[in-house]
Symmetry: C2
Subunit: 441 residues, 2 copies
């Protein structure tokens, strides 16, 4: 049992903080306001020795102005630092600063998904060479504890698939489109008003943020290293109210999913909008919440749900890492090593197998359905259901009056793409077919 | 990066297994069938050196008969053992065997919730004295990773409440009652037929199993030690179809909940049936699934969902601990210490504050509602809604023809109990009032 009185007298664990925005300022305040609890949990006091910010002269409520510096490189090079917390984000200069910190023998806690997804292999190697820790729970799905469950709790099992709603902004937008009937632009504007979307929403709506998280989730789940640029990526900007309606017709909702799969041929990671059954645990995840659904060979189906962003939740995840790393320092050990042990083939999206939903407007005449079915059969794509209906409001006399809605069984992406190529421009088919992948059915 | 070739040549990590039932045999098979993966993840081979069972001569498919012994004490005393996995359950002789194993310097992995809930403090002390590990992820909610998230991921935060559906048998029974209208006895019989309930279902339906898990969850969440017998406990045997209907009227479902709370006055842990809103994440947890809902000051609301029992899921959790402990041995360290640092007052159930739903049959005459409301007011119990309705099928002429359904605001259990005492036997009130606690509203 740890004794708070003893711990207070020993040398404290000294922390340098890089960045003092929404998350950073919350972390700084928690280190101060929760110091008794933290000392009890760590076995020694934990104290801030410096905070690197762009404008050190700007007053910040509740934080000692003497801590601030605009020289992060000098801060991470100090001898009187044990742990560096990095919350500035982006690749540069975070990469150089963390490399300096690790080489200096400081352990690192970071929430920087973009940096880890791009340069994780290199940074973990530097940490290992120096026998120090590199922890990053806050980088994947905010406050949802997912790194330890994947790295440790499920390490004796074999994870076959991870599906996640890992971007709150896009989940909020799709939710708005579903519940209010709004179009994408309108829902995005609402998200901006509510503070759920940034002025430049590209990283969220184009799926870059989710792709970085998919890379980290794949690396953890499959005990390998995947970079963000190896993740197939489609955003949600092309999603229309018609897509939302088509989903509803099938008792589904549209979600931006990160899907990480491991199979005999290799692993794949992809981010794209998908139809998910409303009754699937992921189908009920609304608003800015995040959720990770894990399929493991022995454990079966697990789900982790929680707030995926925000100052306090992200700060909670950072603090969990800080206490864990500080405990390791007190015990004189590093945390469990990154157990990367395999390089697996990474399947291109063309080779990935999943299910597809297609909508196409066709000529309303006999033989069309047979012709379309023949095209799918010729590419070995098996159909589960085909639904033909009149297009509302169109003049049946113009001949383009039927909509075909098709749900395939599991099929290879490239085979479905060839069907789409044949259908596009076919004399029975008007306009390009609309294709959305289907997951969790 | 761990190298499989090196690891294979080093001394293997040697495992003794106590018990070879549904979970034990699955663990034994996984150690054998997944040995390449495990060696890669641990950094050394992991091998079984003995399995203690009651009948060593009974053939067991896929397992080497030479491993079996009926002398568990001799097995845990062997020098050529590094880790003991205990899956025999119950207090004795598991307690003596694990004490021997820990004192011999062996690390221990166990799924034994009853033992830990009764003697966890003593066993953790023995483990710490010997500098070895005692891991128990499988003891709480089967395959759901909850020990590491509470012990490590959320350790920098302050958990205020944990609510869990931690017993699959009772969740299945309540689910059946809800969906089919069956009574308790009928639903229990179905659960037995399906293999979800044991021949003697007492531990499940009376809440003993859930209470042991509530003790472990409270200890982890609040960084203290709580024993199973300190958990207030009510089972589900008294739940009637009328209760289920009353829940449905309020858009709620009846769940057996483990509720662990921390407040300024102390902590409390209780297991009892409760009304939970159907829209609450716990309200949608059906069948034999388990779920843990965590409320933390900074992280907000988190939920962990998964299979709570069964051979393979429980084996998955045991294997995760085995790999983690084996990794610790390879690195020559013990895992992070149990960070128990506080003894908090444990509130008796009478002092616990929550919301209550009451149903009572009353005389259908003017003044009754005012009289009932006065009784609640006199005990400082504030009411949110009171609904009065005619009792179907009763003769209004007999005078006992109205039902009052009352939902309180948050109130102290003892205050509500005093209201119930006053109402019971009151000349306006027929029969005892029915009281069910309400959570998550």
């Amino acid at each position: 049992m740890t004794n708070t009185t003893d711990s207070a007298s020993a040398q404290p664990i000294r922390v340098a903080l890089l960045g003092c925005g929404v998350v950073g300022s919350q972390v700084a305040r928690m280190i101060e306001s929760r110091k008794e609890d933290i000392a009890a949990r760590v076995g020694r006091r934990v104290e801030l020795v410096g905070i690197a910010v762009a404008h050190p002269d700007r007053p910040r409520q509740g934080l000692d102005s003497r801590l601030f510096t605009d020289d992060p490189a000098a801060l991470v090079s100090r001898d009187d630092v044990d742990i560096v917390i990095e919350l500035i984000g982006g690749i540069d200069p975070a990469r150089q600063l963390l490399t300096m910190a690790l080489n200096k023998g400081h352990s690192v806690v970071t929430a920087n998904k973009a940096l880890l997804a791009a340069h994780g292999t290199e940074l973990h190697a530097v940490a290992e060479d120096n026998g120090v820790d590199l922890y990053y729970e806050a980088a994947v799905a905010g406050a949802i504890p997912i790194v330890r469950p994947l790295r440790e709790s499920l390490v004796g099992d074999q994870i076959t698939r991870v599906m996640g709603i890992v971007n709150g902004t896009t989940n909020y937008i799709l939710d708005q489109m579903t519940t209010t009937g709004a179009g994408f632009d309108e829902a995005l504007a609402q998200a901006k008003t509510k503070g759920y979307a940034e002025a430049d929403p590209t990283a969220d709506v184009e799926g870059y943020d989710a792709a970085a998280k998919a890379a980290l989730l794949s690396s953890l789940a499959f005990h390998t290293r995947l970079r963000g640029d190896q993740v197939y990526r489609e955003g949600i900007t092309a999603i229309t109210p018609d897509d939302i309606d088509a989903a509803r017709d099938m008792d589904c909702v549209v979600k931006l999913l990160a899907v990480c799969q491991a199979g005999p041929d290799g692993i794949s990671a992809r981010v794209h909008p998908a139809l998910v059954p409303a009754t699937h645990p992921l189908g009920g995840v609304s608003g800015a919440f995040n959720a990770i659904f894990v399929e493991a060979r022995e454990a079966g189906h697990l789900m982790f749900l929680g707030p995926g962003a925000g100052g306090s939740p992200t700060a909670s995840a950072v603090m969990g890492d800080l206490v864990t790393v500080a405990r390791n320092l007190v015990r004189g050990v590093a945390g469990p090593p990154q157990d990367v042990y395999g390089e697996f083939p990474i399947l291109p999206i063309a080779e990935v197998r999943t299910r597809f939903h297609l909508r196409l407007q066709v000529r309303d005449q006999s033989g069309v359905l047979a012709e379309v079915a023949k095209i799918f059969a010729s590419h070995s794509v098996s159909l589960q259901t085909v639904q033909q209906s009149a297009v509302e409001g169109t003049d049946r006399a113009d001949g383009w009056s039927a909509t075909l809605k098709i749900l395939t069984h599991e099929a290879r992406e490239c085979d479905v793409q060839e069907c789409v190529n044949e259908l596009t421009g076919h004399h029975y088919v008007n306009s390009d077919p609309r294709v959305i992948r289907v997951e969790g059915m």
